[in-house]
Symmetry: C2
Subunit: 475 residues, 2 copies
Amino acid sequence: MTISANGVRTRPASADVAALTDRLRADFGDRVVTSQAVREQHGHGEGMADAALPDVVVFPQDNDEVAAIVRLCDAARIPVIAFGVGTSLEGHVAALYGGVCIDLSQMNRVLEVNADDLDCRVQAGVTREQLNAELKGTGLFFPIDPGANATLGGMASTRASGTNAVRYGTMRENVLGLTVVTPEGRIVRTGGRARKSSAGYDLTRLYVGAEGTLGVITELQLRLYGIPEAISAAVCQFPDLKSAVDTVIVAAQLGIPVARIELLDEAQMDACIRYSKLEGFAVRPTLFFEFHGTDVSVREQAATIQSLAADHGGSAFQWASAPEDRSKLWKARHNAYYATLALAPGKQAFATDACVPISRLTDCVMQTRADVAATGLVAPIVGHVGDGNFHLTILFDPADVDERAKAEELARRVSLRAIAMGGTCTGEHGIGVHKLDALVAEHGDAIALMQTIKRALDPHNIMNPGKTVPLPGNP
Amino acid sequence: MTISANGVRTRPASADVAALTDRLRADFGDRVVTSQAVREQHGHGEGMADAALPDVVVFPQDNDEVAAIVRLCDAARIPVIAFGVGTSLEGHVAALYGGVCIDLSQMNRVLEVNADDLDCRVQAGVTREQLNAELKGTGLFFPIDPGANATLGGMASTRASGTNAVRYGTMRENVLGLTVVTPEGRIVRTGGRARKSSAGYDLTRLYVGAEGTLGVITELQLRLYGIPEAISAAVCQFPDLKSAVDTVIVAAQLGIPVARIELLDEAQMDACIRYSKLEGFAVRPTLFFEFHGTDVSVREQAATIQSLAADHGGSAFQWASAPEDRSKLWKARHNAYYATLALAPGKQAFATDACVPISRLTDCVMQTRADVAATGLVAPIVGHVGDGNFHLTILFDPADVDERAKAEELARRVSLRAIAMGGTCTGEHGIGVHKLDALVAEHGDAIALMQTIKRALDPHNIMNPGKTVPLPGNP
């Protein structure tokens, strides 16, 4: 037996795993893989490289196959970890107690596009870039863009957002419904296709952000949007970080519906200029904007922002209105993480994810920058500042125990600072294994409700054990 | 003992209720009321008048008092029903098994307004009109407007929305966090003040729409919005219902950010013209629009809509740009329910609440209208059609058993029709006692997950028993 009475996890017995693997092979043939290379690939995401290998990786192709795998795991009390493309940043896919990794990459079909209703249904393994490629010609797009080409199932599971959230919201607002395989292996549909509903408990929102700890998301009904008539991007550089952040705060307070507002501090701008060969920019705190709307409204938004920026010492806008110029700009932004890694070959990096009420953003960013300076670590700032969210990308030498500890301590302080300011330790990356303490600091007594829900829906603690919600008795 | 082992409810023993009432009186004095008149007032909402009286009504003034009441009820296994101002439409406050009604009307303070962050914190008994009155002078407003001057706690509990939802979303999108008293009487805060968060399970969204069955909402952190620079309202009349609905569908598909789009069919328009003494309008299918934005964007939105309407045979817009003209228009819209009641003195009315994917709206409305005609009942159509939501207000004679049955049967068909079209039986009113069957038809296997959550969080089934989620063994 692998679990104590209250669902606290230990690693399953090898004999149980071997028996399950044989049984899976009988049903799934060579879609069951136990090679070291594949297990290693599935044992970690991006960010802090704390690999923990699953015992076996299975590649199902439909809901029924996922349900069949989960039922076998449930019967044997063996952990189940859902895996998309492995871009998560908080150790969500590490198989802390071994078990079965369900790789959803073969569930990659766009099942329906309802252009008239601005919605679609996809399998969980579809990536956001794939979806937008398949939407070409419909005049529609899916706006949530966390940078990485993540799967939509993974994005729902971590309640992802990214650069477009100011205008379009996060996965929370853009998932209409889900198909979920429960811990007992039942296939359940939540939500629906209506834009709003008051019918019963909001199971969709419960599974969005549950990080695979309550079941496996296998399909998603998503909202889509018409591609705006006009899109323009602009870059504005500032004499100092405070002026850039203050510009964002005023824009947010005025409710200007900018699609994206991204901040890069000097260090991040330096890294991006080198890595992405950006030309014509200074190594200075910088805001990237993108405006969506009609021609008239885009011009109006841009004029308002330009005037606000000028009030704060911002440079004249450098425009990127042609699609290829915009692509280059956003690609540089999306590659900020890799640009930072390239600053110090051999080092690793992980990201913090503070999100605060907008009025506290300048304080939070400036205090964090001073904190970074005091540590002597390299940690550029980049962020979706339009909704109060910013990241440090902290570089550290994995072989240097002290430096790693210092980096982790810095990250912990960033989380606690955001919480103290009425914000959250994670705007969009999730809790995973690294932020369980921060979750407790943030949510206090509400943790008990989360534990009750976890225990009720997953009584044997087989679903991504050790993540998202601390369970007493588990490490 | 009042409950069987699995939490199925029966009415508590009179001696237990008497003992609890004595105990409450000791703590709350004359804020404990058992008079018939007050119990009757608290035994029903609006809509179908199925009164079921609580044994006692208590008026707490803060979180601690609510928690103390709930702890006493929990110890005695006596039902707890939260009550705002009694405007719910699905029997949410009927005390099916007696028990203690917690009237939150004395918890009516706006606790903080953070103008810079566009948020506020209120006690659950604050009404939406009170909040907007207290926001005067800040340049901010709270947009969710279900018509009735409901409490914000009640609006969260039913996941309310109303006329502004197309642009601003529903209570789901506009509650940042809650204070909840759990069934054991613990005070828990969910969510926070950050615009987005991936920290743990989304308890806020679980309590929004839970209709008091998982705990009592005592405080809310709400999003606010800047009052738009420009607001204009316009009325457009159509030759037939289909043309009006088709206009809405195209507007929604184009993603035009109209703040409100309301449909009134001939019957509803007739009732409103008489009741609210509207002048200059014909008895015809009519759309009421409201546009929010900058001067430029309001003009642009209006021009686009006017052109769409003209394509569908719509009249020239009749404008209401002055605040007093807009108020008169929206007051007439909000009084549609009372206008309908005034058509047939002595009759009662209740509302259906279908919400469908926008492409099915014309089919759903036209089939429903034909269905109404076949029954011979009077049931005008009114709706927040911009997001696919519309209501029948069905009149019936409460003394006429056959007519009431016919009315209920019509309502049931409306729910099932919406569900068959991929929509929901309730866009904004909730399940209460009247739509438990429809919930099962809509959500099938997902009901088991809702039941598991209910049983886990409220194991003694004391929280608003008999509502929202069917529990086997309960009627």
